[in-house]
């Protein structure tokens, strides 16, 4: 019995040592988070951007929101990591789609990108993109509200009352469905950004394949597949290829 207990203690110790090797933060309480946020912000103001990045990354391991992604994006921008900055600005825009500062910084960072990739000029695509004025949480609430309103209007449809009011509720429901689907789709979409200064895109997994084209830091792409440390990417103009995972941020 004693031997078994000793064995258990050894195994537990080994497990703890193995898990400490990986970069994991324990859950922090609100006071710790507040103090860490303050330190990270002060480090940024004083120009200690790497220290600020470390602080924001620790915070992001506990909570996720637009403000943190925006701040860490700023810090990466300052240290010259354009690709990582754009990645975090895009993440921030998912949480705060109406924030003018985020839109401005994302546009400004994108203006520094070397590669010019033609986006889709499709009208439908443009109309679809106009639905991005709510984040996922707001879309949930709006959808639930619209279900309640439209459902009630539908229940009372036999009663005397404004036809236009009921039709408006119906339109509201349709809009809520579209916004919800859009927000869900955008949040679920897998995207990445090139963060190497220059990266080659190959026709297959591995450097012994044909080089199709070259991308530079800040170029954004959608992720189609991942295998063996490589990522299959697709640009908005349809170009596809494989890129080494260490040249991108996902």
């Amino acid at each position: 019995m004693k031997g078994r207990i000793n064995l258990f203690i050894c195994a537990l110790g080994f497990l703890i040592s193995a898990s400490t090797s990986s970069a994991l933060e324990e859950s922090m309480n609100k006071n710790d988070l507040s103090s860490l946020l303050h330190k990270a912000n002060e480090a940024f103001q004083q120009g200690s951007y790497q220290e600020a990045i470390d602080g924001y990354q620790t915070l992001l391991a506990n909570v996720e929101n637009g403000e943190l992604h925006y701040n860490i994006g700023n810090a990466f921008f300052r240290v010259g990591e354009l690709g990582t900055a754009i990645y975090h600005f895009r993440k921030a825009a998912l949480f705060l789609p109406r924030d003018a500062d985020i839109r401005y910084n994302l546009a400004y960072a994108r203006s520094k990108v070397t590669d010019q990739v033609e986006g889709s000029a499709n009208l439908l695509y443009k109309a679809w993109s106009y639905l991005s004025f709510m984040n996922l949480r707001e879309a949930y609430f709006f959808f639930i509200f619209a279900i309640g309103i439209a459902g009630t209007a539908f229940l009372l449809r036999k009663r005397e009352g404004s036809l236009w009011l009921r039709r408006s509720c119906g339109l509201l429901f349709v809009l809520a469905v579209l916004i919800f689907i859009h927000a869900h789709f955008e949040n679920a979409k897998k995207f990445g950004v090139v963060n190497a200064v220059e990266a080659k895109i190959y026709s297959g997994v591995g450097r012994d394949n044909v080089v199709l084209f070259t991308l530079h830091a800040g170029t954004e792409f959608d992720i189609n597949d991942q295998a063996d440390g490589w990522v299959q990417i697709e640009l908005s103009d349809g170009k596809k290829g494989w890129i080494a995972a260490h040249d991108v941020i996902l």
């Binding site: 090797s21 929101n65 403000e67 070397t114 170009k239």
Partner: protein, 591 residues
């Protein structure tokens, strides 16, 4: 005890394992044999850590170094972690020669780590050659070059000279950053917008991008305009057998190279203006100029005003020029608007400045507006000359005794010529410091679950509403529907009041049964005899046996009611049970 110590040691090992990693610094260059126009991509890769100070690299003083950013990598594969930090740079050679570049030294946690060094050869020519079988610049001629020239090598102080920058190319570029000199010895104005055209030079077609500025030297002496630079990312197609992936869709497998192009410096000898012939009221303007003046109306009434418009036009620096103080006898002069604009004409910048003055004669009669004289220097004639307007006269009719004073507000005296706002810099917006950064903005689990719940709730409400409407329709269509629906409930309710030993048990049981049958089967049960009730039941789905039992119960109730039979508790309990049983059967058999 030993085991507990061993346990803590293992835990500690894990912590230190996270910290102690093999740190290795690698210095990589994209090329080692280049020309003065070429650039080199350099990477300093620090393996084993994601932190590390900015590297110091020996031998960097022989190059212009541009930072290309940093990137960090972290991987965990099968429990093994690896991390690295990469610093990227672009190097532009300052001079030809062979140089040792490196080692690169990085400080991590207070310790220094160094890489190897590399030898770089910078050739003085303008064509580049590479090693390693990569893409080769065409050897017959360079595909890019820039020029910078001045139209006047010996101008006078403040005389306009035109600086022309041209970029010649006959290959693709994906990025170009222009570095013009700062022109600190000049006043500078844009001459015209950047333009692009094609030019045939010795049978070869070039694409030319041209930028021109008008410069006005601010002092005499020799002035050297520094070389202009242009950093381009040029595209070179690899020379190899064509494959499917050379299709333009896949962008032909081209490679890019960073180049820095430099023009030659431009030297001017700026001459001072001669003293001979200089008017004491010399305006300072140097150029070919014309002046005109107009007062619009030739006749006014005393007290009214006219606007004197003086136009000065030419290739001098008019922006800072102001008219001398105007003073006319018997005329009050008030400043009005000034306008200034420029336009390219004949390859030079021509400015037009329009001065407006409000003139209010104080006497009636003929008022003379004398010529306005502005001494200038004409560099084409190498002499001073005088700009002179024509003399004008104004007929002023007597007023009505009250001199009408046109009120000129302070706002009218201001120079309202507006200048376009020039953006001189751009930067990102500041960080957010609000406490919303501590809130988790992801949708909580309960919100995700509430969506299907609300949907189910709504669906349930709609189903319930549909059922209610259906019931209401049934009630509307069939008057007896409600009676039939409530018959059994009403029977059960009334049965509770029926007690064994009740002297009226027979009458009440009979009435109860008849009421139930009447409500349930849609006839007036109280008006029929027991036999009739049995016959009526025969027309329904009630079985004959059940109908027979009902007839027996009703008949025994009649006997008990009218036959003066004594009611015992036992018999009344039996009667109650029989009534209940037969009603239950009817409920089962009626459809």
């Amino acid at each position: 005890m030993n085991l507990v110590a061993g346990f803590f040691m293992m835990a500690l090992m894990g912590v230190t394992q996270a910290k102690a990693a093999n740190i290795n610094v690698q210095l990589e260059v994209s090329e080692s044999d280049i020309t003065l126009n070429d650039s080199i991509n350099v990477q300093v890769r620090v393996e084993g850590t994601q932190s590390g100070s900015e590297p110091t690299i020996a031998g960097a003083e022989n190059f212009d170094v541009q930072g290309g950013g940093t990137s960090t990598q972290f991987q965990m594969i099968n429990g093994r972690t690896s991390s690295a930090k990469t610093f990227s740079y672009s190097l532009f050679p300052k001079k030809a020669g062979t140089f040792i570049f490196g080692p690169a030294t990085v400080e991590v946690d207070g310790k220094k780590y160094s890489s190897q060094s590399v030898q770089i050869k910078v050739n003085a020519g303008t064509t580049g050659t590479n090693s390693g079988g990569k893409a080769t610049v065409p050897k017959e001629a360079t595909p890019f070059y820039i020029t910078a020239e001045i139209d006047q090598k010996n101008p006078y102080v403040n005389q306009q000279v035109v600086y022309t920058f041209r970029f010649y190319r006959r290959a693709d570029v994906v990025n170009a950053q222009l570095g013009l000199p700062d022109f600190q010895d000049f006043l500078r104005q844009d001459l015209e917008k950047q333009k692009q055209f094609e030019k045939n030079i010795n049978g070869v077609m070039w694409v030319v991008t041209e930028i021109r500025h008008a410069l006005f030297p601010t002092h005499e002496g020799q002035i050297t305009i520094a070389p202009a630079t242009l950093d381009v990312t040029a595209v070179f197609r690899e020379r190899r057998e064509r494959s499917f992936f050379d299709d333009p869709f896949f962008w032909g497998g081209g490679q890019t190279r960073q180049l820095r192009l430099r023009s030659d410096p431009v030297v001017l000898n700026v001459r001072p203006l001669p003293e001979a012939g200089k008017d004491k009221n010399f305006s300072g303007m140097v150029g070919a100029l014309k002046i005109s003046a107009d007062i619009g109306k030739k006749q006014i009434v005393q007290g009214d005003s006219v606007t004197l418009t003086i136009t000065v036009k030419g290739d001098a620096n008019l922006e800072g020029f102001s008219l001398p103080e105007l003073s006319f006898p018997d005329v009050k002069v008030y400043d009005d608007k000034t306008q200034f604009n420029t336009e390219p004409a004949g390859g030079r910048l021509v400015g037009t400045k329009i001065f407006k003055k409000a003139l209010v004669p104080s006497v009636a009669g003929e008022v003379k507006i004398p010529a306005i004289i502005i001494p200038v220097f004409n560099p084409e004639k190498n002499q001073y000359e005088t700009l002179r307007t024509a003399e004008m006269s104004l007929k002023v009719a007597p007023g009505n005794g009250n001199e009408k004073m046109t009120h000129v507000s302070a706002a009218d005296l201001e120079d309202k010529s507006k200048r376009r706002i020039e953006i001189v810099g751009q930067d990102i917006m500041p960080i957010k410091r609000n406490l919303e950064a501590l809130e988790d903005a992801r949708p909580p689990q309960w919100l995700k679950w509430s969506l299907p719940l609300v949907l189910l709730l709504m669906l349930g409400a709609h189903i319930a509403a549909w059922l209610l409407r259906r019931r209401a329709r049934l009630i509307d269509k069939d008057a007896g529907f409600l009676k039939r629906e409530k018959a059994f409930r009403n029977f059960n309710k009334a049965m509770k009041n029926l007690t064994a030993g009740d002297p009226e048990i027979y009458a009440r049981a009979s009435n109860l049964l008849r009421s139930y049958l009447g409500d349930r089967l849609g006839f007036d049960g109280k008006a029929l005899s027991a036999l009739d009730v049995e016959r009526r039941l025969g027309r329904t789905t009630v079985q004959a046996q059940t109908a027979g039992m009902i007839k027996q119960i009703l008949q025994s109730c009649e006997t008990g009611q009218y036959g003066n039979v004594a009611v015992s508790a036992e018999k009344s309990r039996q009667l109650i049970d029989q009534v209940k049983n037969v009603v239950a059967k009817v409920e089962k058999e009626v459809r």
